[in-house]
């Protein structure tokens, strides 16, 4: 076992790992941060997306030892300091961007990464950026609407489904 230390949501943390310990397992089992979901475990679905040094990655396809020392942000780090929902999370709630919620942590992390790169994306840019995040409930319309709303754009004319 090898102790791996990284900064997760602003706190320096460490946990024991094997070579094969994935970042998703490190977060969930090592640190108890179960907000990061493992959907397909084959890097297709995007439920496990977290930010490593500011970039979205699929944590089920990254070894914890590979990202030792990195800055990691997970869904647990997306709320405001007072515990209220962050802007992307609040927009998902306001626009019904989730049903079962399983894909939501990955959707929120990918959406936040998009908005950091491109603060006012078009609808088509949102759909393109979220290609690697699969939702089996919503049909995506309300997710896209939530991301547009989180970017501060008027979504009154975007049809709800």
């Amino acid at each position: 076992m090898t102790k791996v230390t990284m900064v997760v949501n602003g706190k320096t943390v460490s946990a024991e790992t094997e070579g094969r310990t994935l970042l998703s397992a490190y977060l969930r089992e090592g640190l108890g941060l179960t907000g990061t979901h493992v959907g397909c475990d084959t890097s297709q679905c995007g439920a496990c997306v977290v930010h490593v040094d500011g970039k979205p990655v699929k944590s089920c396809s990254v070894f914890a030892q590979d990202v030792a020392g990195s800055q990691v942000r997970t869904i647990e780090g997306m709320a405001n300091a007072d515990g209220s929902l962050g802007v992307v999370q609040q927009a998902f709630q306001d626009h019904h961007g989730l049903q079962c919620g399983f894909c939501t942590p990955g959707m929120v992390m990918s959406s936040a990464a998009l908005l950091a790169e491109n603060p006012k994306p078009t609808e088509s840019e949102v759909r393109h950026y979220l290609e690697g995040n699969i939702c089996r409930c919503t049909g995506y319309h309300n997710i896209v609407k939530a991301v547009l709303a989180a970017s501060g754009q008027d979504v009154a004319s975007v049809p709800a489904e």
Binding site: G19, V52, P56, Q65, L114, G132
Partner: protein, 261 residues
């Protein structure tokens, strides 16, 4: 997956040494190898992670054209190659999805040589030079069939040097579930002729369509392809397309690439 020893060297010399261990396997961004290991289709004893070597990362213009470090993620190539070699940057920016592009690397893609991967067509279509920890390999000698390359035991890619063409374009017929190419064509026009590399079509992996190269070298227009057809006798057949369907796509996509270049 089975457990292994994880090592992350920080120099080419250290990585070369680490790869001499019994059962050692090189790992780059892990977007293919990690899922493969989960399925227990690969079970290395030692995994030598190549993404911590600073000299194998980055994009810079030099003598051989555009030098791209093997451990450079697709997202970085998409951004940093854009002003030097737009077709290459566009190809990198269309691989997988954003999260995959932040991890997957050029070196990992061409070391794996998936028959439907995007990068092999850019490397072959540019007549690039594959630089390893041991030697330099011309793209024409490097790709040796599906999942097969000229890389030897203990050898790994450090960079790829792409000669910059006058014009080029990559046109991919997307397989929307996997985001690999159902079939895709990379066309590049150089002063000494045109190169046409096809991925996602042949059971032998990426290949050059020499008849199209000859025709386009004389007349770089979609019309020059009119009388040509590609031999599809050894093309991939799966639920997404028959060999004849892929054969037709090769011609259509080549014409589109010429028009887009």
């Amino acid at each position: 997956m089975y457990d292994f020893e994880f090592v992350k060297p920080s120099t080419i010399a250290e990585a070369t040494k680490a790869l001499t261990a019994e059962g050692a396997q090189a790992l780059s961004g892990g977007q293919t190898l990690v899922p493969t290991m989960k399925q227990r289709l690969a079970a290395p004893g030692v995994l030598v992670c190549l993404t911590g070597i600073a000299e194998t990362k980055g994009v810079c213009k030099g003598d051989g054209g555009l030098h791209v470090g093997a451990a450079t993620p697709h997202a970085v190539v998409a951004r940093e190659a854009a002003s030097h070699y737009p077709a290459l940057a566009a190809l990198a920016g269309g691989i997988g999805d954003p999260a995959v592009r932040n991890r997957g690397t050029l070196g990992g893609s061409i070391a794996n040589n998936d028959p439907a991967a995007c990068y092999p067509s850019a490397v072959l279509g540019s007549g690039a030079t594959v630089v390893t920890n041991k030697r330099k390999i011309a793209a024409d000698d490097y790709f040796q069939g599906m999942f097969t390359t000229a890389l030897e035991e203990g050898e790994f890619i450090t960079e790829v040097a792409f000669p910059i063409p006058e014009k080029a374009a990559y046109v991919k017929f997307n397989q929307p579930a996997s985001r690999f190419a159902l079939t895709a064509v990379f066309v590049a026009k150089y002063a000494d002729g045109v190169r046409v590399a096809v991925t996602g079509a042949s059971n032998d992996g990426v290949f050059r369509w020499s008849e199209a190269e000859e025709a386009l070298s004389k007349d770089f227009s979609a019309a020059a392809l009119a009388g040509l057809s590609v031999d599809h006798s050894d093309f991939i057949s799966d639920l997404h397309g028959t060999p004849a369907y892929r054969g037709n796509l090769v011609k259509v996509l080549t014409a589109r690439a010429v028009a887009a270049a």
